[in-house]
């Protein structure tokens, strides 16, 4: 393949003020993010140099534009380098110049050529098609038309990948994930709320370099980004192992960077590379800044991980409390089931209510015996540590073919 101007990407980037050295450095960085051997960096560079800018159609449905905003925060390469040098972003309502029929024509023309990548942000309201229309067409209709002849679908954020917040109980619009509406082309799910822009860039580069999406887990998430639990690579992990926990916002332990598990951190059952890649150009991530992980890259997290300030063993997953060493398995299984049952919202809402009664009782007990809480610290640490192995094993076993594997998960 040659580029549309007959000039390699490195030359086009040079026009943009990006020299050869920076280009190679970028390729090395992406290779590392993708967890590929460093020796492959020249292959990435060679492939990128040859590639034509692929057409990208970015669709927004039941979304908040948070993933679009994350994309605009891209660094290495920047959003400008991406848009002007690496891809041809022919349709993206948040940034495109044209409106109305001129915008729709840009989308339809791009699709007609085929071989494009479809990025989807937001879920699809199948219960009420009128709850998301663009140009008078329903989200489902637009999505079906846009993936025709596509090279692949990249779901950015938890809404398009898993239904996200619109699908949280009681799911008023009957929101579903993209894979419940379309199939037949490769799909990659870059979950998180919002997506981490670095993982998006790395996924696009992988596709350009190797002609396919990176290896994925059974939820369609690339293993380079979702292969390890937050808990395993967390900077506060040492404090967890030592039984050192922040107990309240701003207390001495909190100020010393102690573990946030007792303040509700969901890191032990969340798979994401936040601790290593971080956000906003590697600046920070929520646990570093002092707030527990809420599990935003997991399916159904709005229901299964909340109340967010409860300690993980008490998360209601199926109507009863699970112990820490079951939680990773429990959450994954429960949410896989949830995909099929669109009525899950009401069940969850019911659980939320039931859970709340229990929580109030627990709070009263905790108020009465605050000292006892400190005593169980070590024990909690032990059980949760055991959880690590179980959850990881379950997570890593099935890889690839996200859709079918998720459906297999329903039977669990």
């Amino acid at each position: 393949m040659t580029s549309e101007t007959g000039r390699p990407l490195s030359a086009r980037l040079a026009d943009a003020g990006v020299d050869r050295r920076s280009f190679l450095k970028f390729c090395a960085g992406i290779t590392a993010t993708l967890a590929l051997p460093a020796q492959l960096a020249p292959k990435v560079a060679y492939a990128l140099d040859k590639v034509d800018r692929p057409t990208v159609i970015w669709l927004e449905f039941q979304d908040c534009a948070g993933d679009s905003e994350a994309f605009l925060r891209s660094r290495n390469p920047s959003a400008a380098d991406l848009i002007l040098g690496m891809i041809s972003l022919d349709y993206h309502e948040t940034v495109m110049a044209a409106s109305g029929t001129a915008a729709e024509k840009a989308r339809d023309d791009a699709v007609a050529k085929g071989g494009h990548l479809v990025v989807v942000e937001g879920s699809i309201p199948t219960g009420i098609p009128g709850a998301c229309t663009v140009g008078g067409k329903s989200a489902e209709e637009i999505l079906r038309a846009a993936v025709r002849g596509a090279a692949g679908i990249i779901n950015v954020g938890t809404c398009s990948a898993f239904g996200g917040i619109p699908a949280a109980g009681p799911n008023p619009t009957g929101a579903v994930r993209v894979e419940d509406v379309v199939g037949g082309v490769p799909v990659v799910n870059l979950t998180g709320c919002p997506v981490n822009a670095d993982n998006l860039t790395a996924t696009i580069v992988h596709q350009l370099t190797f002609g396919e999406f990176p290896a994925r887990d059974r939820f369609g998430r690339p293993l380079f980004a979702y292969g390890e639990r937050i808990h395993d690579t967390c900077q506060r992990r040492g404090h967890f192992d030592a039984g050192e926990f922040a107990e309240q916002w701003g207390d001495a332990g909190h100020r010393k960077g102690w573990c946030l598990y007792r303040l509700g951190c969901k890191g032990p059952s969340t798979f994401h590379n936040c601790p290593s890649v971080r956000f906003n150009g590697g600046t920070s991530w929520p646990v570093a800044a002092g707030h527990g992980c809420v599990g935003c890259s997991e399916p159904g997290f709005w229901d299964t991980m909340s109340p967010f300030y409860d300690r993980l063993p008490h998360v209601a997953t199926s109507g009863f409390d699970l112990t820490a060493d079951k939680i990773g398995v429990g959450v994954l299984a429960a949410t896989a089931t949830g995909f099929a049952a669109h009525g899950v919202g009401k069940v969850v809402q019911h659980r939320v209510a039931a859970h709340h009664e229990k929580q109030a009782a627990r709070d009263r007990a905790a108020d009465a015996a605050d000292t006892a809480a400190t005593a169980d610290t070590a024990a909690t640490a032990d059980t949760a540590a055991t959880a690590d192995t179980a959850a990881t094993a379950d997570h890593e076993a099935p890889i690839g073919k996200a859709h079918t594997d998720a459906e297999t998960g329903e039977a669990e």
């Binding site: 905003e69 409106s99 729709e104 140009g135 917040i165 008023p172 100020r255």
Partner: protein, 573 residues
């Protein structure tokens, strides 16, 4: 007379459709429709109020964090938690930096292409562009070499035949009027602003872990510990870095944003007369650091609250009264038991009822229900909210900071205050507000450093953390915030430690409101009337007026569940 439909309206957040009647080359009637909703308030019903901000923040990923703030304030108001000074300073720092970031992104990436034609920049002389840029600002990147390289980059891009987001733009439209040099300068700053916004918003990551959706609020305060001497908290280094980023932000606003605004504005003088609209403005008020100003509208904040009616800029604004807010659904896809009622937020009543045409459709029934937005009204009147409302209320109040800021800009442009009530006036007001916020953010970071250096390390009121510590009975709370797009309020009803009702009345719901039961239009609908349309196939002028409001539709589209009836049924099962 013809019906013109623009859907999607691009370069906004979310899904907006407008249908306008065009007669004699101008808009005679306009209808704004929000075509997406998710039902986040319904989803919130029954949940732990301490979780609310995390859900509510997902109302929007563009003005990310504003809903978190309004939400956490509402719950604190209900349960009686009082965040300590450090938390209030951190929150205001996140909010002011968001405002600066948001306004800059809006101008360059969502609005500028209505006034700037990048294809015309190819004819520019880079040396003349540099001379022109240097004559209006001392921005160090205004060199002939830089402009030449940007021009080359643009040329390669445009000639590639793959012009991505610029595809099918209205290039060459007769309403574009900038010189080639000014187009080149503006496009160059479009790219600079992309880099600027990415670096600037690192403030949110430093203080709250990430952006969009910083993860640092808690009921009672903030989850970011602060200790100048700890390596694991917001420390002296963090604050130094934050201050440096904020200073660079102020420099960018003064050296790039405001000069561009002035240069572009000067080329389009007639746009200080188009797009006036309602002429009635509402501001809740915000950015007070005194403890009673957590949730109720503050009286001593950076932004004074007030109401201006019918374009009367001679009188002092009326004080804002929260009990004046009520909403109608006469033209919205919701059903009220009493269809003609206007209900205040805590007593809001909701049943979603989509009665629009089944997609695919060509046209909405604008005589009936035509949008997912309710029609919020203040004492029965439609109100415009946003930067221009804040600048006008501050100006007519005689505010010590805002009055001179606005007067200076008006004098420089030789404009009367009435000129602010226009399409270009909104753009100008947003720029002035950006400078105000960029300056104020630096004051906040200094004050935070001083307070912590004095030994105050508290970031949260932990005495009201557990629901068992909350008052008995039904708790009502409201959180007010002056968000970048205008006056935002979240309203919560808590019973038995959980959310019984939750509602957000947001800036874009005010501005993009449909007609109410009396047939009175909202701000977009009113402002579009009179807008010229040179070429109905390329409605550039309509976009100018719409974008001047900075629409944020995901924020605006809400589902209100008044009594939690669905939820109660579920519990009975």
């Amino acid at each position: 007379m013809s019906r013109l439909v623009i859907d999607p309206v691009s370069r906004i957040e979310g899904h907006l459709r407008v249908e306008v009647q065009v007669d004699g080359g101008q808009v005679t009637e306009a209808y704004a429709s929000s075509t997406m909703w998710r039902g986040i308030e319904t989803i919130l019903t029954g949940r732990d109020p301490r979780d609310a901000w995390l859900f509510a923040q997902r109302i929007c990923g563009v003005c990310t964090s504003v809903h978190a703030l309004a939400s956490v304030r509402a719950v604190e108001d209900a349960v009686g938690a009082v965040p300590p000074l450090n938390a209030r300073l951190l929150r205001d720092l996140i909010a002011t930096s968001l405002c600066v970031h948001d306004h800059v992104v809006h101008f360059y990436h969502l609005q500028a292409l209505d006034w700037v034609d990048p294809t015309a920049a190819l004819a520019a002389d880079p040396a003349r562009a540099a001379a022109l840029a240097q004559s209006i600002s001392d921005y160090p990147r205004s060199t002939a070499g830089l402009f030449a390289s940007v021009q080359t980059r643009l040329k390669v891009f445009l000639e590639s035949g793959k012009i991505g987001p610029f595809t099918n733009g209205y290039w060459g439209h007769p309403a574009y009027r900038l010189s080639p040099e000014l187009n080149l300068i503006a496009f160059s700053h479009y790219l600079d602003a992309l880099d600027f916004q990415r670096e600037y918003i690192r403030v949110h990551a430093l203080l709250g872990g990430k952006n969009p959706h910083p993860q640092t609020y808690v009921v009672g305060g903030m989850a970011s510990p602060i200790d100048l001497n700890s390596q694991d908290a917001i420390n002296a280094n963090t604050l130094q870095e934050v201050a440096q980023i904020l200073q660079r932000g102020l420099d960018f606003v003064e050296q790039v944003f405001l000069p561009d605004l002035q240069a572009i504005g000067a080329a389009y003088p007639e746009w200080t007369t188009y797009g006036r609209g309602l002429g009635s403005y509402m501001v809740f008020g915000d950015y007070s650091l005194s403890p009673p100003g957590i949730a109720r509208p503050p009286r001593d904040g950076l932004f004074p609250g007030g109401i201006i009616r019918n374009g009367n800029l001679a009188a002092k604004p009326e004080p804002f009264d929260p009990s004046g807010i009520a909403e109608s659904v006469a033209h919205s896809w919701f059903r009220y038991d009493d269809p003609g009622a206007a209900l205040p937020p805590w007593k809001g009543e909701t049943t979603p009822q989509y009665t629009g045409p089944e997609p695919p459709f060509e046209q909405l029934d604008v005589a009936g229900k035509y949008t997912w937005l309710k029609a919020p009204r203040y004492q029965g009147a439609a109100m415009e909210v946003g930067p221009v409302a804040r600048m006008l209320v501050g100006y007519t109040s005689g505010d010590a900071r805002i009055r001179p800021l606005v007067q200076g800009a008006l004098d420089a442009l030789r404009l009367p205050p009435e000129a602010l009530m226009s399409t270009l006036g909104r753009v100008l007001a947003r720029g002035l507000e950006t400078r105000l916020m960029a300056q104020y953010s630096l004051e906040l970071v200094n004050r935070l450093r001083d307070n912590v250096a004095g030994g105050d390390l508290a970031v949260a009121d932990t005495g009201r953390w557990r629901p068992t510590s909350w008052p008995e009975g039904t708790l009502l709370g409201v959180g007010f915030h002056e968000a970048p797009r205008g006056s935002l309020s979240h309203w919560v009803v808590i019973e038995g430690g959980r959310i019984r009702n939750y509602q957000a009345v947001v800036p874009t719901t005010w501005n993009a409101s449909p007609r109410d039961a009396a047939g009175n239009p909202g701000a977009y609908e009113a402002a579009l009337v009179g807008t010229p349309v040179a070429d109905p196939q390329r409605p550039l002028e309509i976009l100018r007026t719409l974008h001047s409001f900075d629409p944020c539709m995901a924020c605006a589209a809400h589902l209100y569940d008044a009594e939690g009836r669905d939820i109660i049924e579920v519990r009975v099962q």
